[in-house]
């Protein structure tokens, strides 16, 4: 019952997302599509880990599914992190740089 309420609450959350200006059917349905698309595509891409280890892929897929579904609506949280303010963009750029460099230096030969 809790999950059902949560899904119902999603529509209300989307209203806030488009807050200045009217909210149309097309926008809300688009956001719900985006929500489902995000969950499904992340889970499917987690299955790609089976080329490393089948057990790991199964575990990650299960954990990711539970985590993503219990955290809906994802899109409002997601959109806040993807806004185009310089601070956030530089932060993510430098974070990715640090991750790539660390990963390549110590783990480049593992694959």
């Amino acid at each position: 019952m809790k999950l059902y309420d949560q899904i119902f609450d999603v529509v209300k959350q989307f209203k806030k997302l488009f807050s200045p200006g009217p909210v149309t059917n097309a926008d809300v349905s688009g956001s719900i599509t985006a929500e489902i698309f995000l969950i499904v595509s992340l889970v499917i891409s987690a299955i790609l880990l089976r080329h490393v280890s089948v057990l790991l892929a199964g575990l990650v897929t299960l954990i990711l599914t539970v985590l993503l579904i219990s955290n809906i609506p994802l899109i409002p949280k997601f959109k806040i992190e993807q806004e185009d303010s310089l601070e956030k963009m530089i932060f993510y750029a430098v974070l990715v740089l640090a991750l790539i460099v660390t990963f390549m230096y110590w783990g480049g030969n593992l694959v």
Binding site: E83, S85, E87, I90, F91, V94
Partner: protein, 128 residues
């Protein structure tokens, strides 16, 4: 590796890290631009250090030099040529950034990145 080259490599690494630090943590836009230009300088210093040869000579063939001695002792000049281009590119990029900052200062009246370069929807609220 010569001691000189090691010191230079550490310096260039320090410059790159200072630049990346200032890109994230400094709020004032002019200081942020100064900081970011240090990344470019660090990269330039690194590339010049590649061409360096300990105990070598400047790669200019003077009259009277023996060619084979010169070839064995001169520094490697290709990186130097590359860095020349890179320095000029860095300076022009910096000039364009400062010009944009000067235009934007007239609109916002502050140099804070949080105000000047916030999310586009928030800027619309700020200007209303």
């Amino acid at each position: 590796m010569a001691q000189v080259q090691l010191a230079i490599l550490l310096t260039s690494a320090a410059l790159v890290i200072i630049g990346l630090y200032s890109a994230i943590f400094i709020d004032n836009i002019i200081k942020k631009i100064i900081g970011i230009s240090f990344i470019e300088e660090g990269a330039n210093l690194f590339i010049v250090a590649i061409g360096y040869k300990a105990g070598g000579v400047v790669p200019i063939l003077m009259p009277g030099m023996d060619t084979s001695w010169f070839a064995a002792n001169a520094a490697y000049p290709l990186p130097f040529g590359l860095v020349l281009t890179s320095i000029v590119i860095g300076a022009s990029t910096l000039a364009v950034m400062l010009a944009l900052v000067m235009v934007l200062y007239r609109r916002y009246g502050t140099l804070s990145t949080k105000v000047m370069l916030a999310d586009t929807s928030k800027q619309e609220e700020y200007n209303e």
